[in-house]
């Protein structure tokens, strides 16, 4: 199954050129059973990443473009009176899918945002008194534009916490861009991608990740990192226990992807920027330097 994972990375990498690490992180997030937030400008390949990932992992995929006049029902679904059967029948919204790409989530009103985020957390939706579970696995990739742009509703900190990871793709490097120019239409490429997993394999991989062992030493390292975010004034907030658990989970997923069944500090270091930044620095998460400083301030040995 591990071969599958590295193959997934390789296949997605064929479409999203030169972004191997971001693909790995996105996959880590998926394996760690968390939701992903991609913060980037339009046209950087966010949709391509989501689409390719859905295709390769074998998830059914829906995309919602968020707008300011959107209502919760537009995502969750609505009950409509069926004249023929003379009863209400439920028309599920796009959220009833295994991979949901919520594009430009900060364009819509807080009301709609919170409907989505609640569903993400609960993994079920309640409409007209009926609780309907969402499909398994359920994975949301939300994108948002940098908040300096006009006409946006920035996600509040409490809702940012719902996303396990926050990454940004960034511009491709020159070689990748050259290859991009030479290559064909990405939509066609995505259609050609093989499906390497089934939802069932994904679930069993998640179980394997749970079993990855973490020694006291590495847990103590994690704890010291978390402690520092709470006691150093350069972070607006300390890392919450949920955030710390998420960090551990991501690190384990990362270790799994590195073909290891135990955790080492490097795993934590690899995922810290994507997991921690948006939780401790609400103001400017483009700035990566504090995370480097955080990692430098804590030694792997006590």
């Amino acid at each position: 199954m591990r071969d599958n994972v590295s193959q997934v990375v390789a296949e997605v990498g064929k479409v999203l050129l030169g972004k191997e690490r971001e693909v790995q992180l996105a996959l880590t997030c998926l394996l760690a059973n968390g939701h992903l937030l991609i913060e980037d400008l339009p046209g950087m390949g966010k949709t391509t990443l989501a689409h390719a990932l859905a295709k390769v992992v074998g998830l059914n995929y829906q995309r919602v473009q968020f707008t300011s006049d959107m209502l919760p029902a537009d995502i969750l679904g609505v009950s409509i009176f069926d004249q023929a059967a003379s009863e209400f029948s439920f028309h599920p919204g796009p959220i009833f899918s295994q991979l949901l790409l919520a594009d430009e989530i900060n364009r819509t009103t807080p009301k709609t945002q919170s409907a989505l985020l609640e569903a993400m957390e609960e993994r079920q939706v309640t409409i007209d008194g009926d609780t309907r579970p969402l499909p398994q696995p359920f994975f949301v990739i939300a994108t948002q534009n940098p908040q300096s742009q006009m006409g946006t509703f920035p996600l509040p900190e409490s809702q940012l916490d719902r996303f396990l990871m926050c990454i940004s793709l960034g511009y491709p490097d020159p070689e990748a861009e050259m290859a991009l120019f030479k290559g064909g239409d990405s939509r066609r490429l995505i259609d050609q991608l093989p499906t390497l997993m089934t939802p069932a394999t994904l679930l069993s991989i998640r179980q394997d990740i749970e079993k990855i062992s973490a020694s006291d030493s590495v847990l103590s390292y994690l704890q010291r990192l978390v402690h520092l975010t709470r006691h150093d004034s350069q972070y607006t907030h300390g890392l919450s226990p949920r955030g710390a658990l998420g960090l551990l989970h991501c690190a384990k997923a990362w270790a799994y992807m590195q073909n290891r069944d135990y955790l080492i500090p490097e795993d934590i270091q690899a995922v810290v920027p994507s997991v921690v930044t948006h939780r401790v620095m609400a103001d400017s998460f483009s700035e990566q330097a504090p995370m480097e400083k955080l990692l430098q301030s804590v030694d792997i040995l006590p």
Binding site: A214, S233, I264, P265
Partner: protein, 663 residues
């Protein structure tokens, strides 16, 4: 660079400015006023510029300011006296604020600050001053601590408490060093400023000298007696014998001059001293006078080393008294000196008066001389005469050319200076050898500590006459006019208008204040006696008491033993703590490995993981790659997989890397 990058954390800057203000506060009295103004301006500027309100200066502005200050200092002080040097130091201390960007700058400034605190003690060494300096040191240390720790949210870190803890820990070490480290005398003495050195009686007596001295409330000396303190009428503190009169001013003749050092040719019999009566042993602590004479009661029978006896039976020393000085003396109430006969030289000097001065007095003296059967009768007649219709006042009418004539016949009002001067002149005119003695008379007993405080307002002048068979005898004509002056002190001998002129007029009005002053004085005295004046002799006595011996080698041994014990005590908890929770072998082994690699030029970056490290070093030094890969694998196995690994294998790997066998 933006202002944001230049500014220090707010707490650091705040503490720093507070500390600077505290340190400079007592120095402002001594420094030129413009320097104080500059300090204020710079500090306010620093505060405002760090808040982004005021602009930062470019480099050339700073150079300009520094040059201007140097020029200002050069113009203010034309010499290299202490004040100039302290001002320079303070200027540097303040101007450094202009280029304070990094924590390192604050550290440098703090070290300078400790030095500036030291200069406070150049001006004051009293108890309050010392405590204040200590406070400054503590606050400075807090600043250093805040700077070192950096920005920490409030409540997480309590720098004041920490500094007090550290200081408390340092206290025993300080005490041990104070008591045990061999005392070396001062290597050099800093010349006092001439402005501060004008206290105490001077080597000549012109009309008005003593009156101006009496307007000062300053302490001249303090004396601790073993046993009783002599009664007030015995408390004549002799300083100088003035035996030369030029018609207006009394001064020391060349044979008496304790500064000229022509006093070595003694006739042995002249020093002989027959003593009788009660014996007093006492210790005098003299305030700095910048002169070289000392003060004793009557004639000293024995005294500390390094002090000499002059022809006038007064004490002096080689160098000027530039700091508080302590010496002990033994005297007896009654003494006889040179009773056998006066040397010819001394007799001539003691009878000399200017030829043309005060003719009326000379005539009167010769007339009385013929009428008197002996010297005692003549002296008594003079004293009776002035007692009858002379008055004691601090505001005497001014006297003209023939001052003694005018005083004796017309004004008939004056104080000790006038009485002693005219008495001695009259006796000399009548053929009796006589001289003026200046010093202090009386003193106030401090009820708290039981020592005697003599202040400048106790300054006094009296006379000594030489009588056949009795030697030099003290006669105080002032006591004939105003016995209260001698018995109770100068405060009680004056009417209210006069006593307003005395130095302590203000504090006498408030009983509470004067009581407080007495207590403070007592404290200060004790402080000086036991702390500031803890010298070689006192140390020796202390060691003797503590260890029963004061042999140098034993002292060194004790010092070393004490230091050793202290080091052990400091390190022990550390060591014990470490041992108690000893870290796993593999972790210690890995740290050794990292140290070894650092020595070989590949230090592990802070926070770098083992695997990344091995990979990086492996790229930089391929010959190490394999050893390191195995080491790292074993390390990971042990630490992250909780598996047992072979310790001997680990040791071998470390050894291989250490011995550079891989090359």
């Amino acid at each position: 660079m933006s202002a944001r990058h230049l500014s220090l954390p707010v707490p650091t800057l705040g503490w720093l400015l507070i500390t600077q203000a505290l340190i400079l506060l007592p120095l402002t009295v001594q420094l030129p006023i413009w320097l104080t103004g500059l300090a204020l301006v710079v500090m306010v500027w620093r505060l405002q510029s760090s808040r982004g309100r005021w602009p930062h200066f470019g480099r050339w502005y700073k150079v300009l300011v520094a040059l201007a200050v140097m020029a200002g200092l050069a113009a203010t002080f034309r010499n290299l006296a202490m004040n100039a040097m302290v001002s320079l130091l303070v200027a540097g201390f303040v101007l450094k604020l202009l280029e304070l960007h990094k924590p390192g700058d604050v550290r440098a400034l703090s070290y300078l600050g400790y030095f500036v605190i030291g200069t406070q003690l150049l001006y004051t060494s009293g108890f309050v001053g010392s405590v204040y300096a200590l406070l400054c040191v503590l606050v400075m240390t807090v600043t250093l601590m805040v700077n070192h720790v950096g920005a920490v949210p409030a409540g997480q870190f309590k720098p004041i408490r920490k500094v007090f803890m550290m200081s408390a820990q340092a206290l025993p070490i300080m005490l041990a060093l104070f008591f045990l480290v061999p005392r070396i005398g001062s290597l050099w003495t800093v010349p006092l400023n001439s402005a501060t050195g004008t206290t105490g009686v001077s080597s000549s007596m012109s009309p008005g000298d003593i009156a101006s001295l009496m307007q000062s409330d300053e302490v001249a000396l303090r004396a601790t007696f073993e046993g009783d303190i002599p009664e007030s009428r015995q408390l004549y503190w002799r300083a100088l014998v003035l035996d030369h009169f030029d018609g207006r001013t009394w001064s020391q003749s060349s044979i008496q001059d304790v500064k000229a050092r022509s006093y070595t040719r003694w006739r042995e019999s002249d020093r002989e001293l027959q003593v009788s009566g009660k014996r007093y042993d006492y210790e005098v602590m003299l305030e700095p006078t910048d002169e070289n004479w000392l003060y004793t009661l009557a004639a000293p029978a024995s005294y500390s080393e390094g002090i000499w006896l002059s022809r006038g039976m007064t004490l002096y020393q080689r160098d000027a008294v530039s700091q508080r000085q302590q010496y002990s003396v033994t005297t007896h109430v009654n003494y006889t000196n040179q009773a056998e006969g006066l040397s010819e030289l001394l007799r001539r000097v003691s009878l000399r008066i200017p030829r043309d001065s005060n003719p009326a007095t000379r005539t009167l003296a010769e007339q009385w001389r013929r009428q008197a059967p002996n010297d005692q009768v003549l002296i008594q007649r003079f004293l009776d005469h002035i007692q009858a219709d002379f008055s004691y006042t601090l505001q005497p009418p001014t006297l003209g050319e023939h001052s003694v004539d005018e005083f004796l016949t017309q004004t008939k009002a004056g104080f000790c200076e006038h009485f002693s001067s005219s008495f001695v002149f009259f006796m000399r005119a009548a053929g009796i050898p006589a001289r003026v003695v200046v010093g202090y008379q009386g003193g106030r007993i401090n009820p708290v500590e039981g020592y005697l405080t003599v202040r400048q307002l106790d300054a006094h002048a009296w006379a000594e006459v030489w009588l056949e068979g009795q030697g030099w005898v003290r006669v105080d004509p002032t006591s004939a006019v105003s016995p209260e002056r001698i018995d109770r002190g100068v405060q009680y001998s004056l009417d209210s208008a006069d006593s307003e002129l005395l130095g302590d007029a203000w504090s006498r009005r408030f009983f509470m204040l004067s009581n407080l002053q007495l207590r403070l004085d007592a404290f200060n005295y004790r402080w000086h006696r036991w702390v500031m004046n803890y010298d070689k002799a006192k140390q020796k006595a202390f060691m003797q008491k503590l260890f029963g011996s004061s042999a140098p080698w034993l002292m060194v041994l004790y010092v070393m033993a004490a230091a050793g014990i202290m080091v052990v005590l400091i390190l022990l908890p550390n060591f014990v703590g470490k041992r108690a929770q000893r870290r796993p072998f593999v972790e210690r082994w890995y740290e050794k490995l990292c140290r070894q690699l650092a020595v070989q030029g590949y230090p592990r970056r802070s926070g770098e993981g083992a695997r990344d490290y091995a990979q990086r070093v492996g790229q930089e030094a391929p010959e190490l790659a394999q050893l390191l890969a195995e080491s790292t694998a074993l390390f990971e196995q042990a630490v992250y997989q909780n598996e047992q690994v072979s310790h001997s294998r680990l040791r071998l790997l470390l050894h291989l890397i250490k011995s550079k066998k891989y090359r």
